[in-house]
Symmetry: D2
Subunit: 470 residues, 4 copies
Amino acid sequence: MSELLQNSQNGHLPASARVPAIARPFVSERAMKTLDLVEKFVEEECIPADAVFASQIGETTEQRFTSHPPIMEELKAKAKKLGLWNMFLPKNHFKEGAGFSNLEYGLMAEYLGKSRTASEATNCAAPDTGNMEVLAKYGNEAQKRKWLDPLLNGEIRSAFLMTEPQVASSDATNIEMKIERNGSDYVLNGSKWWSSGSGDPRCKIYLVLGKTDPKNQDKYKQQSVILVPHDAPGITIHRMLSVFGYDDAPHGHGHISFNNVRVPASNMVLGEGRGFEIIQGRLGPGRIHHAMRSVGAAEKALEWFLARINDPKKTPFGEQLHKHGIMIERVAHSRIEIDAARLAVLNAAIKIDESNAKGALKEIAEVKVLVPAMNLTVIDRAIQAYGGAGVCQDTPLAYMYALGRTMRIVDGPDEVHLLQLGKNENKRGPAHKARIEAQQKKTEELLAKHGMKKADTLQLNRVNGKVSKL
Amino acid sequence: MSELLQNSQNGHLPASARVPAIARPFVSERAMKTLDLVEKFVEEECIPADAVFASQIGETTEQRFTSHPPIMEELKAKAKKLGLWNMFLPKNHFKEGAGFSNLEYGLMAEYLGKSRTASEATNCAAPDTGNMEVLAKYGNEAQKRKWLDPLLNGEIRSAFLMTEPQVASSDATNIEMKIERNGSDYVLNGSKWWSSGSGDPRCKIYLVLGKTDPKNQDKYKQQSVILVPHDAPGITIHRMLSVFGYDDAPHGHGHISFNNVRVPASNMVLGEGRGFEIIQGRLGPGRIHHAMRSVGAAEKALEWFLARINDPKKTPFGEQLHKHGIMIERVAHSRIEIDAARLAVLNAAIKIDESNAKGALKEIAEVKVLVPAMNLTVIDRAIQAYGGAGVCQDTPLAYMYALGRTMRIVDGPDEVHLLQLGKNENKRGPAHKARIEAQQKKTEELLAKHGMKKADTLQLNRVNGKVSKL
Amino acid sequence: MSELLQNSQNGHLPASARVPAIARPFVSERAMKTLDLVEKFVEEECIPADAVFASQIGETTEQRFTSHPPIMEELKAKAKKLGLWNMFLPKNHFKEGAGFSNLEYGLMAEYLGKSRTASEATNCAAPDTGNMEVLAKYGNEAQKRKWLDPLLNGEIRSAFLMTEPQVASSDATNIEMKIERNGSDYVLNGSKWWSSGSGDPRCKIYLVLGKTDPKNQDKYKQQSVILVPHDAPGITIHRMLSVFGYDDAPHGHGHISFNNVRVPASNMVLGEGRGFEIIQGRLGPGRIHHAMRSVGAAEKALEWFLARINDPKKTPFGEQLHKHGIMIERVAHSRIEIDAARLAVLNAAIKIDESNAKGALKEIAEVKVLVPAMNLTVIDRAIQAYGGAGVCQDTPLAYMYALGRTMRIVDGPDEVHLLQLGKNENKRGPAHKARIEAQQKKTEELLAKHGMKKADTLQLNRVNGKVSKL
Amino acid sequence: MSELLQNSQNGHLPASARVPAIARPFVSERAMKTLDLVEKFVEEECIPADAVFASQIGETTEQRFTSHPPIMEELKAKAKKLGLWNMFLPKNHFKEGAGFSNLEYGLMAEYLGKSRTASEATNCAAPDTGNMEVLAKYGNEAQKRKWLDPLLNGEIRSAFLMTEPQVASSDATNIEMKIERNGSDYVLNGSKWWSSGSGDPRCKIYLVLGKTDPKNQDKYKQQSVILVPHDAPGITIHRMLSVFGYDDAPHGHGHISFNNVRVPASNMVLGEGRGFEIIQGRLGPGRIHHAMRSVGAAEKALEWFLARINDPKKTPFGEQLHKHGIMIERVAHSRIEIDAARLAVLNAAIKIDESNAKGALKEIAEVKVLVPAMNLTVIDRAIQAYGGAGVCQDTPLAYMYALGRTMRIVDGPDEVHLLQLGKNENKRGPAHKARIEAQQKKTEELLAKHGMKKADTLQLNRVNGKVSKL
C-alpha cells in the first residue's frame, strides 16, 4: 500500500482484501490489482485534488462555465500513466476498454465515488461513459472516428439531451423535441434541460433524443438519437440549473433551446426510429456505475463520521462522541446498510455480465431504489455528527448529500422503478393464490383423513339463554 | 416440478433457478437438486400439514405439553425417505450430516422457514441443530452414543438451558446457575427460562450452562456445559412462557427450576470451565439458520400479500387491491428488502464456510440485526393488506410476526450486536481521521504549489464603516 | 392522591396537573376532579385486578366463552359507588351520561386505556359505548327501555355486527347480510365476523347492519340496522377469532352465521334504509375513545420501559440500562411522540364537541392514522428493552401490542383514511397552483419594474467555438 | 381576503379560520385580525418579492456581502404602514412590541415562514429578535438607546456570536473566546463561526459570548455577554460558510476572528459572569419562532406538492400525479404530521406564556426535535414529486430543505435535546418501578383472597419418564 494509506492506517486492508467473500469468484487477479491501484490513486491523488479543482473554477457564473480547472488534466495524465483509463467499458461487449467485467468495474467505481475528480480523471465519468457506449455500439465508422476517438482519449466531453422541462420525460413517449428531415439535413426545434455536462467548454458533442416520426402508431418508433455539435447555430444555453445550492461547474446542468438547429443527415445514430432502442441499452450499466459510486460515497461518509467521533476536541457532556451509545449504534446501522446495498449492486452487475441489461431488469431496478436511499441515510447521520461543519464547505458531506439526492430522480424517479418492479412481481400473485388454496384444500383432506376438525372451530348457540355446543 | 406447483403456477421457476447469480459458484449440482426437493417437500407436504399439526395439539395447557402431534412423525418418515435429513451439519466440520456447506444449507433453510413443521420434519430444527453440533464437536464417545445418535435419528429432542430470569444473561458472565462437584456427581441449583423445546415430552436431554468456578479471575473460565436428563429428580417445569398469545406447544418455552439436581461427573461436556468456548462456537451457524428461515418467512408473507391483492372479491373503492398504487409500492419495497437481506445472509454463510464463525463475526452480526427487522416489516405489510384476517388464525401472518419478533431478542438483542459491531468499526476511526488530515495537508501543498487560496476564503474588515478586502 | 401513588412516586403529579396547557380552558373543575379519581381507580383497583381477571377465565375454549370473571362485578360496584360510570356519553347530546364533554371524557379515557378491566368496570367499554349512543340517539322508547336501560346499568352487554368475511366491508356498500320483511317480522340471512363482544355470555343484544333494499339506486339507502337478541333461533357462533395468539375471552371476536333468523319488525332502528346514517354517527366519538385509550397504553408502555431501565439487576456491559444512551434516546422519542399524538386527539375531541363528528372528519381521520402507529412504536421499544419478558405474559406489553395492532385495522384500515384525507386535501391543489402562478407573474412584473432579469439567467452560445454572452 | 387569494382560491379560508380549535381560547380578536393581515402581506407582497430579493444580490462573494437588496426596504415600509412590525416581542414581558402573546405571534410566524423575506420585512427576523429581547430585558439605558432603538426601528441589524469552530460549543462551558479587563476596556481574543447575519453590511453590532472568568469554580459564572461594534479594529471576517450550496447572502454565516479587539467596559451586558443567564433566557421563544416558521415551510411545501400533482402536463403512465395513490398517501401523511407538529408548538408557546421558557423546558425540547424532522420529511416528499425541478432553483424546495436541515443543528443538535429530555423523563423511572411492583403485590393478595393461582402456572415434573402435575 501507499505511504499515505500506510502511514495513517494501522492494519489498513487494501481494497482487494475487502471484496465481499461472495463476489470473489467473479474477480480476476488482474482486476484485484487494478482495484488496489484505483484505491491508491483516489486516496492519494484525487481526494487531495478535489478542493484544488473547486478553487480553480471562477467566481461569476460566466467564468465558471467557460473555463476548466487545469488540475484535472494533471490527474488525467497520471491516471493514463497508471493504466487507469476507460475501465467502465465491459470486456464482453467492447474491445476499446480496459478489459473488465461490469462486476470488476463496479468494485472500482466504489472507490471512484469517493472523490469528485476521480471518475473524470480516469475517463469514467457520466455522461461520457454512456455516450461512448452508444457510439461504440451503434455509431458508424465516421461517427466513431469523429466523436468516439476523442472521447476515449479524454480530449473532449459530451452530453446526452433527453429530459425536457415541460413534460414527464422520464417516459420517453412524452418527448417533444422535433427532428425534421430537410433535404440532406435534419432540423431540430425544442427545449432540453438537465443537460448535464453541457456547461463544460470542452463538451463538444450532444446526443439529442427527439422525435422524427411523432405520428408513428408504434409509440416506441417515434424517437431518434442524433449527434449535434455544441456550436451549431441556433443553440442557446439559457441558464444553468443548480442542485440545492451547487452549480456543479464547469460540468453544469444546462437548460438549452434549439431554434432551427441544422445538422447533416449523416449525424443520425443507427437510423430513424431507433431512439428508444438506444436509450434502453444505455441505461443499465450506467445505473450500476451510479450505484457503486453511491456506495463509495456512503463509505466515505462513514469514514468522516468515524473521524469525527474520534476527535479528541469534540467532547459534549465531557466525553468524546464515540463514547456516546447512539453514535456507535448509528455507525453499526450504517455498516450494515452499506454492506447489504453493496451486495445488491454486485449481484446486479453479475447479472448484467451474465445476460445483459434486459435480463437484469429486476436487479437493476432494486438497486436503483435501494442504494440512493441508503446513501442519503448514511450521509445524513454523518452530517448530524458534524453539526455546523456538516452542512458547510468544511466537509464534503453536504455536497455529497445534494448529489446523492438527485440519484433518487435521475434516470427515472424511485416511483417509476417501484411501480414497474411491483407490477412485475404482482404477475406472480394469481399463482400464489392458487397454490395457497391448493394447500388449504390439501389440509382439509388431511384433517378429514385423520377424522378431525380445525382447532379453531367452536360451535355454540344460545337459544333460550342456554349454551349448547354443536 | 411437482404437480401442486406445476398446476398452480404458470412459469414457476424452481428454487435452484432462483439462486442469486452471485451465489451460484458456491452451490454444487447436488445441492441444487436437493434444494428443489426441499421446496417441493415444503410446499406439498409440510405447509398443508401445518394446520393439521396445530389441530392435533390438545386444548388445555397440560394436554398441550404432554402429547405430540402424530402428523410430525409421518412427515419425518417422508423426509428421511427423500434424503432430506440433517442437512444443517456443515460438511467441512462434520461427517454425520448430509454433506452440504453452510451456504448450501442456508439456501434450503429459506424454504424450511416457510412452514411451521418443515425444520423438525427434516431434523433441522433448533435447538437440536446447535445441540447436535455441540455434541458432535465437543462430546466424548459415550455422550455421542447416548445422546447424539438418537438426536441425529430424530428419536428424541433436546433443549439448551442458558437464559436466566433474574439477570442480563445474554452476557454469559452474569449466569447464576450453580454446578457444584460432589463426589462423583455434579449438583445443580438455579433457575432457567426461555428453555425452548422443554415443553415437548420427547425432549429428553438438557444442555445446561452454569458456573462451576464462579470465582475464577478469568470470567470466561467460570462456565461449564453439562448434560442433564429431563427426568432427573429435582427438576420442576413451573410454567410455559407465551410469545404474544402463542404457547408454541408442544415445543414450548419453559421456566424451569433446579433443586439439588444430581448428574454423574461424566456428563460434563469438554471439561470444567469450557462453557464459554462451547457457546461461542454454537451460535454462528445457528444465526444463519434463523436468518435464512426468516428470509423464507418474509417470502411467504409476500406471497400471501400478493395472493390477497389479487383476490377478486376484495375491491375497496371499486378496484382490486393490486390496482392501488400504494399496494404495488409496498410489494416492490418488500421485494427489494428481501433480496438485499438474502444476499447478506448468503455472504455471511460463505464467510463461515471459508473461515469459521469467529472469522465471520462482522457478517453474522450484520445479518442478526438486518434480517429480523426486514422480516417484520414485510410481514406487517401483508397483515395490513389482510385486515382482520391478517391478525387472526386465518392466515399464518400473525404467528409469523410473533415468531419473527423474538428474533430481535434471541441469541442477544439487536442492541448487543449493534454495540459490538459499532465498537469494532470505531477502531478504524483514528486511522480515518489521520488519513483525512493527511489529505487536507496535501491539498494545502497543492494549492500553495499553484499559488492559490481556497475558494471559500473572503477576508473583510469593516473598520470605520468601510469595507476593505484583505 | 392515593396511598399507592403517594407511597411509590416522589413528586407524583395528579392527572389533572398533567393536562396539556392548551387543553385546560376546555376542562371544567368537576371534570378535573373526576379525572384524578379515574386515575386513582385505574392504578389502585383496576390494574391489580387485571391479572385476576385473566386467571378467572377458564382454560378450554368452551369454558372461556361461557363464563364471566366475577372480579369484574366487584370492580363495577366500586366504580359506580365512586360515581365513575358512563362518562363517555357526551353532555351536549345525552342526558343519560355523566355530563362530560368528549374532550373531558377523552382525558379520562387515556387512563382507562392503561388497564384491561377499567373501561368495562366504568361501563365505558366498546362496543357498548357506541351501541348505547345509537340506542339513545335513534332508538324508540320501547327499544330504549328494553335494551338501553340494562346497558346503561351494566347489566348486559352488546355487539355491533357489521364486518363480513367475504367482502371489503369497511366500505358499507359491500355488505351482503340480507334483512327481508316477512309479515310482521324481519328475517336475516348471512355471515358476520369480528363480532367483538359476542363471546361474552352476558352479551344479550346484537345491532346488526344488513341490507333491506339492496337494489336501491342510492347505495347509501340500502342498509338498515336491526336489533337481534343473541339467543334468536338460527344464530350460530362458529368460532372465535384470535388476535395474534390472544382470544380476548370472554369478550371474544365471533364468527357468526344467521340462518333464517326472525325478529319482530319493531326491532328496526330508526327505519329501513337509515343504516348508513346510523353507522356514520356512531364512529366519530368511538375513534376518539380508542385513540385516547391508545395514548394511555403508550404512556403505560413508557412507564414499564422506564421501570425496566431502572432495574438494578439488569446491567448489560456492567451498567444499568438507563446509562445506555440509546435507551434514553428512545425514552425521549417516545415522550415526544406520545405528547404530540395526545394533542391531536384532544383537538379532534374539541372539534367534535364544537360541531359534531361530521364537522371533525379531518381531525378524526388524522388521529385514526397517527395514534395507533405511535402506540405500536412506543410499545415495541418497551418490548425490546425487556427482551424475553417483553414478548411473554410477564409484562402487559405483548398483549398491548396485539391489541394496538388491530387499531390500524378496525373502523377502516389506515389506507382508507389516508386516501380520504389525501383526496380531500387534494381539492385545494388547483387553487394552490393558481396562486403560485399568480405570485410568479407578480415576480416577473416586479423584476420588469426594476429593469432586472432573474439571477439564474445565463445566455451563452458557442458558435464557432467561441462563447458569446447574449 | 385579498384579490390574489380571492382570485386563485375557491373557498379559501383565511388564516384566522384555520387556527386549531384547541388554540382558539388563547387568541384575541385583534390577533386574529393581524393574523389575516400577515397572511395577506406574505402571500401578496413577500413571496413575489423573494425572487427579486435573490436577483438583487450581486454575483461575486465580495459583492454579495457588501450590498443589500433595495426591495427589502420597500417591503419594510409597507409592513410598518400595515402595523406589521415587531410582533415577536411578547406582551407580558415587553412594552416595546406589538402586544401579542407568544402563542399569537407563533400563529403569525407560521406565515412568515413561507417567505424568505417576510420575517425581516416585519422586523421579526433572527437573530435580531433574540438580540432585541436581550437588550430590552438586560441592557442598561445607554445600551438600549444606542442599539435597541435602531434595531426596533429596523435601521440596523445585529449578530449573536456564540458558536466556536474548535470546541463543542453547544455546551457553553466549552467556550474559549477570551474577554479580559484592561483598564476601562475589555479586550477580546478568539474565533467565532456560524455568526449568522454578520455578512450583512447593515449588521452593526455583535453580542459576543466569551469568558471573563475562565477559572471560576462555578462553570456557569465564567461567561459574559458583551457588545462589540462590527467595525472595531482587530475584527476580521475570514469567510462565509455555506449551507448546502447556499451562502444566504447578504445575511451570511461568518467565520470571524478577534485579535485584541477593544471595547469600553460599559459595553458589558448585565455584568460579568451573567452570560449563561442571558443565553438561557434568550433561547426559549426563539425556538418557538423557528419551529413555527418551519411549520409554515412545511405547509408551503405541501402546497407546492399539491400544485404539482394537479399539473395537467405532468402525466406519467398516462395519469396526472394526483391519480396515483402513493402521491395521495404522501399528501395525507404530510397533513397529519404538520397538524400534529403545529399543536405541539402552540402548546409550548402557551406554556411559555403561562410560565416562562424555564417552565416550558420539556415542551420546548419536544418541539425542537419534532418539528425540523417533520419539516424535512414533508419537503422531501414535495421535492420527489417535482423531480429535477425540486432540487433546482425553479422551486423554493431545495433551499427550504437546506435551511430546514440546519434546524436540527442550531441551538443545540437533536441529540442534546433528546438526552436532556430522556434523562429528565428517566427520573420518574424508580417511581414507576415501585408502583408496578406495588400493583403486582396487590394482584398476589387478590389472587390469594380468591384462593387462586395465576393462569400461567403449570407445574410439571417428569421423573421416571412420567409426568405428574404438581
